[in-house]
């Protein structure tokens, strides 16, 4: 049974993760590999690497990612430092608020900002001026993306501040440090690994983001790697080797950023001796408290309330030009979505089906992979482990390109390309790291004697997985499934690239509605998506929290 399980894990991971990545590398190096020929190696790579458009796109991607990371950190770190000084209960209210940007898919957020700031947008309707010039500029994109991503740094850093606690700072105060010195010399260096590791995640998410640069950047000719790849597929003739070179650059950057992130987060965890969180907080003077509330309130209003309100109001507006008046507000858009004969309803059904399948399959694959990696240790383990976590550093656009390169070939007798199955393959690849990481971590907590006792009692590997481990890992597997489900329902980039003609998902539907000018229908759909995926994510988090507190003794 063991060789069979190894084989199953290896084949599954190679097909889902290995194929697309290898395809990108091969096509970038050997442009005629689809004719099974190593002819003209590097003939595409080198010319492409010196092409000004590619260099510009790469520089744009890097500068955008650096800028977004920097601005996000500048917003997040002061908030996180103040948060650590709150009593827990009070701080949790703010935390809940800052979770909301996670629930708004970035492309919907960008569309909301456009609604607000563009010519005749909500701001102009209410206040008489617009900020279109700012929005459609480099600082504009940076601001919109930072407002969406800074909570990631905020949560990691606030948690790091909380773990470090006040005792190290107290010691410094006793030895004569002032508050500013203590912050700069004690707290900041101590949270630095955690801060940097979350910054790297923001960096990766920015460089692989498609929606925002496409929506805002295309208005002023700003091209990044991801949008350049998209362009290569929309302009005829399609430049597959060119797209593979761009994808390869994307993967390489993301891969090294992710490696650095892992190093740093491990380093932070081992550097701090005690990981207990001081839950009391500190007494704050009324003036200071007021200032803190003002700062948090502003951040929350700009990052959460404004885009969310825009989406909600737009969803209820009959016409864009009608403005925010009672006669222009109704449930028509929402009702239209739930009309079972509409395209919108079809898109919802497609997304739900794909998301459920992705959740079920990734969790099942993760169970088998986790078992093989954690319990049946062997030389192949390292390889399986690597493959299962690799998609973390493969941007969605690269997965899409890799799948096209893999399956759009004549060598396959049957191919998922041009069917909805290719979307499922993309989701499986992109989502696999979530359940693998969660289930692997949970399995490591279960003593090996539980398995051994079952083997001794006459069980085989399948029985051990199914009768012993699966029930114990059930809650965490369910939580992982919910998270995969929620993320799948909002996935944009691979869906846009891979959806066969006539098939829409929720994300592509929203995106296309804006292209066609049906902004309010798009916003209504966005609202539904946010509410559905938000409640599913919340449910998943709850389940995960419960399974962590429920002891495994």
């Amino acid at each position: 049974m063991r060789p069979a399980l190894f084989g199953l894990s290896a084949v599954t991971l190679i097909v889902i993760v290995g194929f697309p990545v290898v395809a990108i590398v091969l096509f970038a190096l050997f442009p005629h590999i689809n004719e099974l020929s190593f002819r003209e190696p590097f003939s595409v790579l080198l010319p492409n690497l010196t092409r000004p458009r590619l260099i510009d796109a790469t520089i744009n991607s890097l500068s955008l990612s650096f800028a977004v990371t920097l601005v996000s950190a500048l917003i997040a770190v002061p908030l996180a430092y103040m948060r650590a000084k709150f009593p827990l209960r009070f701080g949790q209210i703010w935390d809940a608020g800052f979770l909301v940007p996670f629930l708004i898919p970035p492309y919907i957020g960008s569309l909301a900002w456009m609604q607000l700031l563009q010519k005749n947008g909500f701001v102009e309707q209410a206040l008489g001026f617009n900020l279109a010039g700012f929005l459609f500029s480099f600082p504009g994109i940076v601001t919109v993306m930072s407002l969406h991503l800074f909570p990631l740094i905020y949560f990691t850093t606030a948690n790091a501040f909380a773990i470090i606690g006040t005792r190290y700072g107290d010691v410094a105060r006793v030895f004569g440090g002032g508050p500013v010195q203590v912050f700069i010399r004690i707290y900041l260096p101590m949270v630095f690994p955690a801060l940097l590791s979350s910054c790297l995640i923001v960096f990766i998410l920015t460089i692989e983001e498609f929606g925002t640069p496409e929506i805002l950047g295309s208005r002023f000719g700003y091209e990044v790697i991801v949008t350049a790849i998209h362009e290569k597929f929309s302009d005829w003739p399609i430049d597959l080797p060119g797209a593979s070179v761009l994808s390869l650059i994307l993967i390489v950057i993301a891969f090294f950023a992710f490696q650095a992130h892992q190093r740093l987060s491990d380093k932070f965890q081992t550097a701090i001796e005690s990981q207990t969180v001081d839950k009391r907080g500190q007494p704050l003077s009324p003036g200071y408290l007021f200032a803190v509330i003002l700062i948090f309130g502003t951040a929350l209003f700009v990052a959460v309330v404004m885009p969310l309100a825009t989406i909600t109001i737009s969803a209820f507006m009959d016409t864009l030009s009608g403005g925010v008046t009672a006669s222009n507000l109704s449930f028509n858009n929402l009702i239209g979505i739930f009309d079972t004969s509409s395209e919108a309803w079809q898109a919802i059904l497609t997304s739900l089906t794909l998301a459920v399948l992705a959740a079920v399959f990734t969790v099942l694959i993760a169970l088998v992979v986790a078992f093989t990696v954690v319990r049946l240790r062997s030389a192949a383990t390292v390889f399986l482990d690597f493959l299962s976590i690799l998609p973390n550093s493969v941007p969605g656009m690269a997965v899409a390109v890799g799948l096209i390169l893999t399956w759009n070939q004549t060598i396959w007798p049957i191919s998922p390309y041009n069917t909805p199955v290719i979307l499922l393959l993309a989701y499986l690849c992109l989502m696999l790291p979530y359940p693998v990481r969660m289930i692997t971590a949970a399995l490591r907590q279960l003593p090996k004697s539980l398995d051994d006792a079952a083997y001794i009692s006459g069980a085989g590997e399948i029985t051990v997985i199914w009768k012993v481990l699966a029930p114990l890992l059930g809650p965490i597997a369910l939580a992982a499934g919910f998270i995969v489900f929620a993320i799948s329902t909002r996935e944009l980039v691979s869906s846009i690239m891979l959806a066969p003609p006539g098939v829409e998902t929720v994300a592509t539907f929203v995106f296309h509605q804006f292209d066609q000018g049906s902004v309010n229908t798009g916003m209504a759909m966005s609202l539904v998506a946010i509410v559905v995926s938000g409640s599913i994510i919340a449910l998943g988090q709850r389940l995960q929290g419960r399974s962590r507190t429920g002891s495994t003794s």
Partner: protein, 329 residues
Amino acid sequence: MSHIQIRHLSKSFGDTKVLHDINLDVESGAFVTLLGPSGCGKTTLLRIVAGLETPDEGVITSGDQTFVDTSNGVFTDPQDRKLGFVFQDYGLWPHLSVAGNVAFPLKMAKAPQSEIDRRVREVLTDVQLTEHAAKLPEQLSGGQKQRVAIARALAGKPSLILFDEPLSNLDANLREELGQEIRLLSKQLGLTCVNVTHDRREAQILSDSIALMKDGVFHMFGRPEDLFRAPRDVWSAQFLDAGNILPAGLVLQNGRAANAKVLVPRGAFHLAEAVSPIQAQALNCIFIEDRYEVTAVLAGNIIKIFSDRSVAMNDTIHLAVDEDAILEF
């Protein structure tokens, strides 16, 4: 008749050889303990017998069944060896009730439900847990959990039961009590048992014979009393805590190199009635069980002796020694 036969068994992990040419016979109905410090290979040997590890070389047979024979590639899966195994951390499945845990091996053997119910009741009676059948493991105390683990090991009527430090997670009183129970149960049911431990007391409580292991080989093998009365060398005497190890010159007048080590059992020292050439400085005196235990310094060596009267700290004590009881290495 020997039930388990182990012949020429060897095992390496990478470059480290953990078992060297092990040979062992376990008689039917006997309780054998593999005793040794951590890293001596005892747990690996047990796991090889269970089939949870494979040896590099060697043969293990149980009755007329061959567990493993590397010369002709025979390997019986653990599930086909008809074993019971009692784990150090109990290894109880937290999602199954006590009865569910005990029934598992029977279900795997596809026994009919009526037979499963009867057998579960029977073994739970053996370990005195009938009233806890419906509870989950987390609702039990440590001793009760270990009883469940024992019941589970007994359920399938295995021909051999393996124990991996069954008492080490329990507190001292319970260890003694449950250890005696395990021994009685194994005798009543005629079980063949192999146990692994680093705790000499656990080995003494449970075993008919003990294999003392060191660096992957059997260093000594025999009845507990033989091992403790006549340890083979200084290392064995120290590991077994068999008595005081002293330079011969301190306690023996005649012959022998004065620096050679000898073992003086604690009972071989007595407080002398008169002045004696063997004098020690008392460090501590405590009353344990039914006598005093005196720790003292004898020419720079810490010794421990039994006495029926108390000694004041820092007193000089005069000692007589029963030379016949002294073991020379």
